[in-house]
C-alpha cells in the first residue's frame, strides 16, 4: 500500500471505525507517535471493530468507579492504554527537552490541587516562567506512568535539568532553607 492510499485508509479508519474518544486519542497523539506505532494501534482497533461490529472498546469508557480516589471532574480523561516503553520515552523527551518539568494536577495557569499549586507559587516566587507543565489529570497513563518512572508515589513531581527533585514537601523544605534557590542558580535556571 503506497503512502497516499495508506494515509487515506487511516483517515477513513479514524472517521468511521473508531468511537469519538479513540479518535480524540489519535488526533492528540499523532504528533508524538511514530507512524509504525500508529499503524499498529489502528490495526488493533480495526481488528476489534471487525470482530464485534462495534467501534467500541469497553476499556475506553469512563466507569463510575475507575477512580474511587477522585471526583469525576478530576478523573483522568484518557483511558486508552499506552505501552510503558512509549510512555517512558515520552517522559524522557519531556525531561531532557526542558530545563524544568512539573508533573502536576491541572496546569500552571490553573492548578487543581493545593500541592501542585504550591510548587507553581514557588516557581512564580523565583520568576521561573518557562517550564513544562504536564497535567496528569488529562491522561491516566501519564498519571500512573510517571509514578513508576520516578519511583515516587505522589503528584506533583518536579524535575530540574533532568534531575528528579521531589514533590511538594521537598520543594517546600528546599525553598525554606534556601537550597532551592541555590539549585536553580547553579543550574542556570535563574541569575542571582
Amino acid at each position: 500500500m503506497n503512502n497516499l492510499v495508506q494515509r487515506k485508509f487511516q483517515q477513513a479508519t479514524l472517521k468511521y471505525l473508531l468511537n469519538p474518544q479513540q479518535r480524540l486519542f489519535f488526533v492528540h497523539h499523532q504528533r508524538i507517535m511514530m507512524p509504525s506505532t500508529l499503524n499498529a494501534q489502528l490495526q488493533t482497533y480495526q481488528m476489534r471493530f471487525f470482530s464485534n461490529n462495534q467501534g467500541h472498546n469497553h476499556d475506553d469508557h469512563d466507569h463510575e468507579h475507575d477512580h474511587d480516589n477522585s471526583h469525576k471532574d478530576f478523573q483522568p480523561k484518557k483511558k486508552v492504554q499506552l505501552d510503558e516503553t512509549q510512555l517512558n520515552q515520552q517522559f524522557k523527551e519531556w525531561i531532557e527537552g526542558n530545563d524544568v518539568v512539573l508533573f502536576m494536577k491541572g496546569n500552571k495557569k490553573m492548578p487543581r490541587c493545593g500541592f501542585s499549586n504550591y510548587i507553581v507559587s514557588v516557581m512564580k516566587f523565583y520568576g521561573i516562567k518557562e517550564y513544562k507543565d504536564v497535567d496528569v489529570l488529562a491522561d491516566e497513563n501519564v498519571r500512573e506512568g510517571i509514578k513508576k518512572f520516578s519511583n515516587w508515589p505522589t503528584i506533583p513531581q518536579l524535575y530540574v535539568k533532568g534531575q528528579f527533585i521531589g514533590g511538594c514537601d521537598i520543594v517546600k523544605e528546599m525553598h525554606q532553607d534556601g537550597s532551592f534557590e541555590e539549585l536553580i542558580v547553579r543550574e542556570g535556571i535563574i541569575k542571582k
Binding site: K72, F115, P153, T154, I165, G166, D169, I170
Partner: protein, 109 residues
C-alpha cells in the same frame, strides 16, 4: 515520642509501628488530617475507615548524611503498603536530631 492525635485507627497504628521499627526515631509525630478532607471523593468511597491524609515528622539519626530525597524515598518505601491501601496523601518531614534541635532553637528565639 510524640503522637499528636487522639484518634488512632488501624492505618495510623501501622504507620506508627513501621516508622518506629525502621527508623528508631528520637521524635515521631503522626497527624491524621483526614477530617480536613471529609468532602473529598476519596474520603467517601476509597477508604472505608477514612484514614486517607497523614502528616508525619520523623527525627532519626538514620537520616544522617542522606539527601532529602533519599530520606523521603525511605519513608515512602517503608509505608508503601499503606499508600497502596488507600493513604491518599502523605506529607513527610524527615530530619536528623541535629536539624531538629536547631529548628527548635530557632523557633524559641
Amino acid at each position: 515520642m510524640d503522637q499528636s492525635n487522639n484518634s488512632r485507627g488501624p492505618i495510623y497504628l501501622a504507620i506508627e509501628k513501621k516508622l518506629t521499627e525502621v527508623f528508631n526515631p528520637t521524635h515521631l509525630e503522626i497527624v491524621d488530617e483526614s477530617h480536613k478532607h471529609a468532602g473529598h471523593h476519596a474520603m467517601k468511597e476509597h477508604s472505608r475507615q477514612g484514614e486517607t491524609h497523614f502528616q508525619v515528622t520523623v527525627v532519626s539519626d538514620e537520616f544522617e548524611n542522606k539527601p532529602l530525597i533519599d530520606r523521603h524515598r525511605a519513608v515512602n518505601e517503608c509505608l508503601a503498603e499503606e499508600i497502596a491501601a488507600g493513604v491518599h496523601a502523605l506529607s513527610i518531614k524527615a530530619k536528623t536530631q541535629k536539624q531538629w534541635i536547631k529548628q527548635n532553637e530557632q523557633i524559641q528565639t
